[in-house]
């Protein structure tokens, strides 16, 4: 798939970083404002997909990109599961226990384990949506050859 015109390329270079930062803001403030892991992850994936759409797929080596994004996805889920299991070691020994100290409500560093879960689920959702998109693009490349 060929890239787009130079106006689109320059605008995407400026905008993609802002979209990425906005996605990270939504992920990290998941316990204070609406959003959280899922919605923020989709926005972060959107930043990467914007870059791939603007620059075209001959510019990037997409098969290596896909191997990398599936690796991030699986690692993030394993870390999230490990955090859930770590509840078995503290306190009343149940799964998914919220064992970090909960601060005052309304602060950024508060509510125990929730920001950690949000971050890793955000990474996982972003990586998996990117993997889906890359798999479809790679398949289309292989058809048209």
């Amino acid at each position: 798939m060929k890239g787009m015109t130079i106006i689109v390329k320059k605008t995407t270079q400026l905008i993609a970083g802002i979209v990425f930062l906005y996605g990270i803001y939504i992920i990290i403030h998941g316990h204070l404002t609406p959003g959280g892991g899922f919605a923020g992850g989709v926005i972060v994936a959107g930043a990467f997909i914007l870059l791939i759409l603007a620059y075209g797929s001959d510019f990037l080596k997409l098969v290596k990109e896909e191997a990398g994004s599936t690796l991030y996805e699986n690692l993030a889920v394993l870390v999230a599961l490990f955090l859930a299991i770590s509840g078995l070691l503290f306190g009343t020994r149940v799964f998914f226990l919220n064992w970090l100290p909960k601060g005052t409500p309304g602060e950024l560093v508060s509510a125990g384990m929730l920001p950690l879960y949000n971050i890793f689920i955000g990474i996982e959702v972003a990586a998996s949506i990117l993997s889906i998109f890359l798999a479809l693009v790679i398949f289309k490349e292989e058809i048209s050859k």
């Binding site: 599936t70 889920v77 394993l78 009343t92």
Partner: protein, 512 residues
């Protein structure tokens, strides 16, 4: 048993993602890790079978204690009915993974297969263990999406068309289930099954209850392939690779279809007589129509898939008889017998149908065809396959001393004692027609003269496949011991007690 409950879901889930990471670096990592994970699950589920008697274990995820005797948070409940289904799921899963060590080597990208298989087992374990209505939906979707991908694993024309049909109908089923969950939440404002039971038993609005029950019955009936909703089953089960057919037909339609129907209708809703008669009618229709559609088939796996519909009809029939007797409030011991017969037939069907699908896969692996007209005389060249197939065919037709005989006997006796003579006669006639169909299968596949083009190069299948088939046939013989009074008391009777006694399930959860 308390700390072992979340391991049933966590271990296969972690294993699936670990196989995806390390599977492309280390050579045979995926098959050994999948086998080890499922072996571990088999060991802890059998440990649970012998330690869970009358008491059930409740695991509160996140540690949220009930406030004013109202449960908050998600509960995972392990009681006597659950542990039976967990044993079946993990055992057939383990034997299918061992079988697929040599079967899947003919496909490409093997590590995706083992990862999706572990995800499917994790989803089924989650559905069976959950005590919360929306949690059932989430785990049901996990196992269903994994099974859509597994049916289409070798991407040929047949498999893709079958999985498209399966996906559209499965998606429709999920939306109906979510619709039902939305309606239940509207009235009760809670999602915990025991708490919904407490609220439903105090007030009773018949039209609302009828709407919710019909929606949930249609949704889960589509997943369980009862007769008006069976259209996806023959295509999906015959086009999938053989270990996946054994898993789909042996455990998936039971764990996410029939188990949830039995659990919701006995432990959540108050049973009305109209609904019980509807369920019994659907069971009878499944039994009869399934076997008549199966007689004319010449493709082995389509024949077995139609027989799955018929045997599931037996289970629903006996559960329906139990429901009719409970709703009329008479003859509780006959209802207990009918329920025990139904659950026993569920266990038996997983064993012999899994074995039959694994045999069909072995035949296809050796001869390369699935059409009964093109094969014959395999009894001499494939001795292990033909012996285990003989055992499985006798089991499904209900010949003593194999397990199918005892479970069908209990169902027919319960129907006669409840004075449903017509249903008992139908059950016996369907069993005879099943015997006719499997005699045809045996004759054309194994005991005929071999046609010329496949005569000389048939060998026995490799060792992992033979190992799984022999273990399953030994299990078919051992399961007939469940009908005897000593063993039945420890395994089947606590399951029927939990289902039939209306207060026993809720007192474990809200009383603590």
């Amino acid at each position: 048993m308390n700390p072992l409950i979340p391991l049933f879901v966590v271990v296969p889930l972690a294993g699936a993602f670990l196989i995806m990471i390390l599977g492309r670096f280390i050579k045979h990592f995926d098959r050994t890790l999948a086998s080890l994970i499922l072996l571990f699950l088999v060991v802890i589920s059998f440990y649970g079978l012998f330690t869970t008697g009358e008491n059930s274990a409740v695991y509160r995820v996140g540690g949220w204690e009930p406030v004013n005797r109202i449960p908050i948070g998600i509960h995972m409940v392990l009681d006597a009915f659950t542990i039976i289904i967990l044993c079946i799921v993990n055992l057939i899963g383990f034997l299918s993974v061992v079988y697929s060590i040599s079967y899947i080597s003919r496909y490409t990208s093997e590590n995706y297969f083992y990862a999706l298989f572990c995800l499917m087992v994790a989803g089924m374990n989650g559905v069976v263990l959950s005590g919360d209505l929306f949690n059932i939906y989430v785990f049901l979707e996990i196992s269903a999406i994994s099974s859509y991908a597994l049916v289409a694993f070798g991407v040929e024309r047949d498999e893709l068309e079958a999985t498209f049909k399966y996906q559209v109908l499965g998606g429709l089923a999920s939306f109906l289930i979510l619709f039902g969950i939305g309606f239940i939440y509207w009235k009760t404002k809670t999602l915990n099954i025991a708490d919904i039971k407490t609220i439903f038993s105090s007030g009773y609005d018949p039209k609302y209850n009828l709407l919710v029950q019909i929606l949930l019955l249609c949704g889960f009936g589509l997943k369980a392939a009862i007769i008006p909703f069976h259209a996806w089953l023959p295509d999906a089960h015959s086009s999938a690779p053989s270990p996946i057919s054994a898993m789909l037909s042996g455990v998936l339609i039971k764990a996410i279809g029939i188990y949830v129907i039995i659990r919701l209708f006995f432990n959540m809703f108050a049973i009305t007589e109209g609904m019980a008669i509807l369920i019994t009618t659907l069971g009878t229709l499944s039994m009869v129509v399934g076997v008549f559609l199966a007689i004319g088939q010449w493709d082995i796996k389509r024949l077995l898939a139609y027989h799955s519909i018929s045997q599931m009809g037996y289970v629903i029939l006996s559960v329906g008889i139990g429901m009719i007797l409970i709703s009329r409030g008479v003859r509780q011991e006959v209802a207990a017998l009918a329920m025990a017969g139904g659950i026993f037939h569920l266990i038996n069907h997983a064993a012999f149908k899994g074995l039959l699908f694994l045999n069909a896969g072995a035949i296809e692996y050796s001869t390369g065809t699935r059409n009964l007209n093109e094969m014959g005389g395999l009894a001499k060249s494939m001795p292990a396959t033909s012996a285990t197939s003989f055992v499985a065919s006798l089991s499904i037709s209900g010949i003593p001393p194999f397990n199918g005989f005892f479970s069908k006997l209990i169902i027919i006796i319960a129907a006669v004692m409840a004075r449903f003579y017509f249903l008992a006669a139908l059950a016996a006639i369907v069993s005879i027609i099943t015997l006719a169909s499997f005699l045809k299968f045996q004759r054309y596949a194994f005991y005929d003269k071999a046609p010329e083009k496949i005569k000389n190069n048939i060998k026995e299948v490799p060792f992992p496949m033979v190992f799984s088939m022999i273990i399953l046939s030994i299990i078919c013989l051992l399961l007939s011991l469940l009908a005897f009074p000593g063993i039945r008391e420890t395994i089947l009777t606590p399951a029927t007690d939990i289902l039939m006694d209306p207060s026993k399930y809720t007192s474990q959860i809200t009383g603590i």
